[in-house]
Symmetry: C2
Subunit: 164 residues, 2 copies
DNA sequence: AGAAAACTTCTTCCTAAGAAACATTTCTGT
DNA sequence: ACAGAAATGTTTCTTAGGAAGAAGTTTTCT
């Protein structure tokens, strides 16, 4: 306790205090919680909200070759457990957005592939989501702010993944 | 479609493209998803993980006068529905971290108040959380990065709350 | 070739949180 | 003063997601 990395040391232009750090991180959480619901408003075809995971799955499949990815890889990318993603895929398949397709070379893997209807929804969702991002993010912090935010986020993510 | 606020316009130093925006925002999500679990590691008294909402409740009660807040206010602050928070409070009370206390002046409101045990847990959790923030955030983006992040987050949050 | 190890998907059970309905108490307009 | 509106907390019902494990498939090692 009281080591060089804990709390405030003695220099006048030292680092942030514990409370500064906690407050800063809390602000990030609050911002995301307040904004995220806005960014998916009216994104669904029916004009309603679209659940976050659905959107992420659609976007990732949309920019994948042949609009398909292995289930397990997709699950990892959207931070879901394999079991959880199986059920999400069931729901999205039932809605007609994606279908399962077995891989000929490796019979363990099952591809999740976007249906034509799903691709249409994905395209539409992407356009609307981008428009909402311009309205609620870009217009607030500007292009510089967005660039800086992306830079910081990338640094944090890469460090987290590499670190442990 | 193709209006002045959609996609890339024509100037050479125009704004970010739709994909730039979506990628940037996606990076923020990924960073938070990767880092947040690390920041609550070993924060619980038993050395295990602590659920995010628990930590937020403890922190907010800790810095409130008399370590107490009305249920509904606390629910709003941690972004839970009133019904959801009732049950979270039940669990935390069952664990001995907080207790309910009825308000004498307004008989509708019920205060959630930190027990001595809860205060101890909150203090300890705060110290450990701050140490993890230094390790996984401050050391990566520096004091300037943290300050910039907080500034951007605050701008976004305030705009979101004021806007609609 | 054949056994062992690692992977992928799916199933079952459980917990967490939202939505809506409701009872109680307070506030507001007339 | 009083009827209606609003606020507060709880209960009930439904859904999303995690953990553990089963079954089948591929890869690797001997």
């Amino acid at each position: 306790m009281g080591g060089p990395t804990a709390g405030r040391a003695d220099g006048p232009t030292e680092g942030p205090t514990d409370d500064d750090l906690i407050t800063a991180w809390g602000l990030v959480h609050e911002a995301l919680r307040d904004i995220d619901p806005m960014l998916l408003k009216g994104v669904d075809v029916s004009g309603g909200e679209m659940a976050g995971p659905w959107f992420e799955v659609l976007i990732r499949l949309q920019r994948s070759p042949e609009h398909r990815l292995p289930m397990s890889r997709l699950a990892r990318e959207v931070s879901l457990s394999s079991g959880g993603f199986t059920k999400l895929a069931d729901r999205m398949a039932h809605k007609g957005y994606l279908a399962r397709e077995s891989c000929p070379t490796d019979r363990r893997v099952v591809y999740a592939v976007l249906t034509p209807a799903g691709r249409e929804v994905a395209d539409e969702a992407k356009v609307r989501h981008a428009a909402l991002l311009r309205e609620h993010v870009l217009s607030v912090i500007g292009a510089e702010g967005v660039a800086k935010l992306a830079e910081l986020a990338r640094a944090l993510r890469d460090n987290a993944r590499a670190g442990e």
